[in-house]
Amino acid sequence: MAIAGVAKPTEAELKEYSAEAQAWFKENTVRDPGFMLPLTFMEVSTDQQFDFLREWQCKVYEAGYLGASWPKKYGGGGLHPDYQRAATRAMKDHDAPIMINAIGIGWAGPLLLDIGSEEQKQKYIKGMLNAEDIWCQGFSEPEHGSDLGNAQLKAVRDGDEYVLNGSKIWTSLGDRAKYMILLARTSNNEGDSKYAGLSFFLNPMNVPGIETRPIKKLTGEYGFVQCFFTDARIPAEGLMGGEGDGWKIAMKTLEYERGAKVNLAGGYFLKELDVMGIVDVARRSLRGGRPVLDDPVMRDQLVEYMIDIQAQNLNNYRRRMPPLVQDRPMGLPLMSKLARTEMIRELTEFSLQFQGAKAGYYVGDNNAVDDGYWHRAYLNSFSATIGGGTSQVQKNIVAEHVLGLPKGR
């Protein structure tokens, strides 16, 4: 995307920058801090993990490799997006840990840069980038998850404030966040106009009347919470757009996430699965006295996954090549979450089949293959097939928005 006043680098400039970034990540990436590093921002469980990732993000930012293409006056690097892309490439190449402040730099930040006021940009952007201010997302409610348009948490205007009552759930990093992007109901529309009653807020978490309760995940770890709002008062300037614009803005944030139209801060919030790691497990594991990799059935299945993984990688390149996506330009972007997350779920599940009786171990036992990494990865893979809109909902989206099928009633 072209940004006024920001020059596209020459090939030589980009090459030099890229080499510096590569060298920096080579030098500074810690792969084994002595505890398991989360693969996604939804998996941050312990203080140790949290502190580590927060410091890591800050360090990357201070080195200039995060927000490199965001405006300088708000704390960004003021460079052309090509620079940030090169920096993100370097992170990937060195298998660097994730950026923890996903909701901040991936959702709220682009939103503020897009439609925020000058004061909001001054106030929030830098703290997102250096991970000083962690953000969370308050969309889902106990009674309304997939049916997000029916969210019921009430926001009532009272002078310069809104008074909030209700509950949000499955809020990742909800107990560690300073701010929340919040979808709340400001009027009681029902049926098809349910969307018109929703408003979008930047919500400070540190106010009386907001409480969080950690929820234990299927892995036995923590990472998300339920938030209770009881007559919580927040400043009215947190309202984005006007009352009733909430749904439209929430959908906008989804577009940022898909990276279609915006200048992204860079980095990633979900780690690529170590696919070769799975081949390696297959090579190390025995089945009937022979390496799993020599078993024709397992080999065949593994190749099938390799083909699938390669397809996802190719899709990511192809979606940026207009002549190769003429027929349905929105197809690849809208299917990518579905395809990727389901593939990871299946693949991690498959990796358990290599392990023979040892598939019965779990994290914490010394005999577990790779310290239980694969078990944990499989159980955690559901975070992405459920969170951010379930796979079934993603299928509806692709069917309706790409294939032109009717909405179910």
Partner: protein, 373 residues
Amino acid sequence: MKNLGTIGFSEEQVELMDVATSFCRDKSPMEKVRALMEDARGYDPDIWQEIADLGWLAIAVPEQHEGVGLSLAEVVPIMEQMGRHLLAGPFMATTLAAQALVAGGSETQKSAWLPQIASGTIATLALTEKEGDWNFNNVTAKAEASGGGYALSGTKQFVTYAEDTKLIIASVMLDSAVRLVLIERSTIADGALRREAIIDETKRSFELTLDGISVDAGAVMDADMSKAALAHVDLAANLLQSAEMCGGTQAVIDYTLDYLRTRKQFGKVIGEYQALKHPITDAYVAYEKARSHMFSAAHSFADQGRGEVATRMAKAAADKAYSHAADRAIQFHGGFGFTHDCDAQLYRRNAIWNASQFGDAAWQRMKLADLLF
């Protein structure tokens, strides 16, 4: 993973994609496809001539042999659109025969045949035998020295469009090595060709009895060159098939979507039912994956190592996507799906045909396992 394909495109590829998209749509509407299924020849010679005039047969033929000197990557978008519209004709057969010559022919053989083929002379391959083995090194047909040339014997199957070709390139054993041999159609007696009943009614295929055919010494390719040509043709075929299959997958999905958007049962358009909506979405997702592989195979084809991995992945992905999409297409058309009138069966049969020739998905995966691990 080693040797993975990359993706990209050439300007020529995009131009050809645009031209082929409208050409195949205009020249091969479904009524025409159906009419040609009943026709003995199985394709329209006028359209074949137009294809030749467009220069599509010359694309991957070197310039010194009066070709355009591009690569198979530029043939891929054409094949894709042909598959999408089930455009009948010996395009794949002729292109593959030309590739066999390009990869294995002597200078004399190339200059005798490539210019002709580039301008529209039909040619074909005769590689398969009665075991239906996809390993084309397993050959029982024979060439034996006789007079100044060779006497051929044995039987070849799935020789597509053999009736109308001018040149058939067959694999035979000679001195315990596989050789490719150039047989002129004019030397083949009428009784030596038998039309086969094949699953895909939009195509034509023949069994060829070699007994009684003889060729002169210059018609046989050198042993090493034959080997190289066979390996090249195997991959070229899979590349082009992955394109034909991607085109077919797109078409069968679109065809089914039309039905899901219009057919009503229980007071609702059936596309509202997730029992149909979700599987067709799965089919679409698989199609897009296969299409990415197709572009990757086209782009990487000429790269040593990468080309083979990318091509085999493309064929495997296309087979999986096409077979599934066309299978569901029959089911989702209900009672109509069970009829010959419903186009779903055309695509299903086309998918089976393409899987059956040069190796299906499982065969490609077996080859890939050895290449990847």
